[in-house]
């Protein structure tokens, strides 16, 4: 009776020797490739078309402007993206930004130095996120929709209460600097976005935790059976989403030199839209940070261009809504095409 399994001296290419099968369905493969490249293609087309309509769009000054305007959506959308990867949703991010900014402004007026004010805002964001995660997972709620809807309301009410319903002007200079031009004509906030993106990218790509997020999003029950600590993975994404909201509050406070209970209005919708428009799947387990960023920039470009073209705000809402429908439908189409491809391959096998 054999005692061990061989370590295999004949690795060979046996496992790799049949790569041609896939190419037998070129039409479908092409369709799938186009769909996954979709958001980038659409973004480029959008910029080309809009720049014809409004030549000012592609000036350096305006591009820098677009990036500054989308910094908050971008940062918060990256957190939202992690949540959506696990089939969840975080409705509280907008109120969380408002609360964090108000708490930050109050701490500044109480005499805290810039570093403490920043820590307070980010910490406040993370705290709300932690509450979301713990209640969702250990409160055994059927869907994160419920708890994040509750914290949306609670954080908003708390922010209004603390600030007496008004904006609180004044932020430390170090925070205001984020709103000012830093290098290459870009505002400091853009570098914060880039920094957060870099850290999250490394975490999602190279750490075991990142792999677990995809596993949990792909199939939560299987993740449990494979011994992945699903509860903690879920809590972690809400904590990070809250943390990103806190960072968003810092950026917004810097741009406006204030904290306000009215910040972050509808930010939950913008960030969810960004993630979906960017090409991540609502079905969980599919997508990467780039999707959130591309989606955020797409929203920024559309808003900016419509502004330049003097299109009113109501119409902007409609356009964004239409883009969301297109994005979700292409997600459905992608799943369908993958299914077709699988059937065809199975047929070819036997």
């Amino acid at each position: 009776m054999p005692e061990t399994r061989g370590t295999g001296t004949t690795v060979g290419d046996a496992a790799m020797s049949a790569p041609k099968k896939q190419e037998a369905v070129p039409g479908l493969a092409l369709g799938l490739a186009l769909l996954s490249a979709g958001p980038v293609v659409i973004l480029v087309l959008l910029i080309v078309v809009l720049s014809f309509l409004s030549p000012y769009l592609l000036t350096g000054r305006n591009l820098s402007n677009i990036l500054a305007q989308t910094a908050v959506i971008s940062v918060v959308a990256m957190g939202q993206h992690l949540v959506i990867l696990t089939r969840g949703i975080d409705l509280s991010v907008g109120s969380n930004v408002a609360l964090a900014s108000v708490v930050g402004a109050l701490s500044f007026h109480a005499g805290a130095p810039a570093s403490v004010v920043i820590a307070v805002m980010v910490g406040c964001g993370a705290a709300v996120g932690t509450i979301n995660g713990l209640f969702y997972v250990f409160g055994r709620l059927p869907h994160p929709f419920i708890i994040t809807l509750a914290t949306l309301s609670i954080a908003k009410g708390l922010a209004l209460q603390l600030a007496d319903g008004r904006a609180i002007p004044g932020m430390p200079d170090a925070i205001d600097a984020l709103g000012r031009e830093a290098v290459w004509g870009l505002p400091g906030s853009v570098f914060v976005v880039a920094g957060v993106a870099a850290v999250l990218f490394v975490m999602a790509k190279t750490m075991v935790w990142g792999r677990w997020i995809y596993a949990v999003g792909g199939r939560p029950d299987a993740a449990l059976r494979m011994g992945i600590p699903v509860s903690w993975v879920l809590v972690s994404v809400y904590v990070i989403s809250g943390l990103c909201a806190g960072i968003g509050a810092v950026i917004l406070a810097g741009r406006t030199d204030a904290g306000s209970p009215l910040f972050g209005n509808l930010l939950e919708l913008d960030t969810i839209a960004a993630v979906i428009i960017g090409g991540a799947s609502f079905l969980g387990g599919r997508g990467h940070l780039g999707h959130a960023l591309i989606g955020a920039i797409m929203i920024g470009v559309i808003r900016n261009a419509l502004n330049l073209l003097n299109v009113n705000v109501f119409f902007q809402l409609i356009v964004i809504g239409v883009v969301i429908v297109i994005a979700v439908e292409s997600d459905v189409l992608r799943n369908y095409l993958e299914g077709r491809m699988r059937v065809l391959q199975a047929g070819r096998q036997s």
């Binding site: 999003g217 059976r225 011994g227 992945i228």
Partner: protein, 261 residues
């Protein structure tokens, strides 16, 4: 040491049951899914677990692999009573399961599926989730594993969603061989497979046995039972109604035990 090369732990005696379940009882509300069921599997042996749909086969295996907890009864590993509170416990104890629904991650590649929950990562002193993936090591081990098992996949960098039923089944079975050290449970691994694909999966099952694992094989296919199983246990409505050594001649007996005629 390579994870793929992990040895099957040697049991004290060849005849010692690696896994024994005694008096297993499990209810779901008013449904009695298992009623006082006892089974034993030895090292290097394949136990066929038979029964009609709803007989309790999947429930029994899920109790062994930690998905469900027994209401009454006990599980013994190498003769020692063992509490299996979670799937992680079961895997830690050397029990691998190929679930009826495969439990594959469609959005991950075959290699990522093999190592899901047991990623090779460093440094050791960090908590598991914060370690950094050793992707190249996992890729290399995946290639060695698939070559050893003679499983061919069109691409190793494509997600499992893109693969055929047979390929997915092979991936799920191959995954259990990565870390199997004692017991492997396969829940209807050839259901819905063509002839050639079934053959490939059955070969994998035989490989698992030859490696010295105790194997529990659930199937509806009598040919597969007579060919592979050293013993067969029949469940009906949650009860164990018979146990015998399957041969070509007692196939009819087995079938009537299953349907209760």
């Amino acid at each position: 040491m390579s994870a793929v090369a992990a040895n099957v732990e040697s049991a004290p005696t060849v005849d010692h049951p690696v896994l024994a379940v005694r008096g297993a009882t499990k209810r779901f509300g008013s449904v009695v899914a298992l009623d006082d069921v006892s089974i034993e599997v030895r090292r290097g042996e394949i136990l066929g677990l038979l029964g009609d749909n709803g007989a309790g086969k999947s429930t029994l295996t899920k109790c062994i692999s930690g998905v469900h907890q027994l209401d009454a009864g006990a599980i013994f590993l190498d003769g020692a009573p063992t509490q299996i509170r979670s799937p992680a416990d079961a895997r830690f104890a050397g029990i691998e399961t190929v679930y009826q629904d495969l439990a594959l991650f469609d959005n991950l590649t075959p290699g990522q599926n093999f190592f899901a929950g047991r990623e090779l990562a460093w440094p050791r002193w960090l908590p598991r989730g914060m370690r950094f993936l050793q992707q190249r090591r996992m890729d290399a081990e995946t290639r060695i594993l698939l070559a050893n098992l003679k499983v061919t996949l069109p691409r190793l960098d494509a997600v499992v969603a893109m693969m055929s039923g047979g390929q997915r089944q092979a991936i799920a079975v191959a995954r259990s061989t990565v870390f199997a050290r004692k017991v492997v449970i396969l829940d209807e691994p050839t259901a819905a497979l063509g002839l050639r694909e079934s053959r490939q999966v059955l070969n994998l099952v035989a490989t698992l046995r030859d490696q010295g694992n105790a194997v529990i094989l659930i199937t509806h296919n009598m040919e597969h039972v007579t060919e592979l199983a050293d013993r067969a246990v029949v469940l009906r409505q949650g009860r164990k109604v018979g146990e015998l050594v399957p041969t070509k001649d007692n196939k009819q007996e087995l079938v009537s035990m299953i349907v209760g005629a």
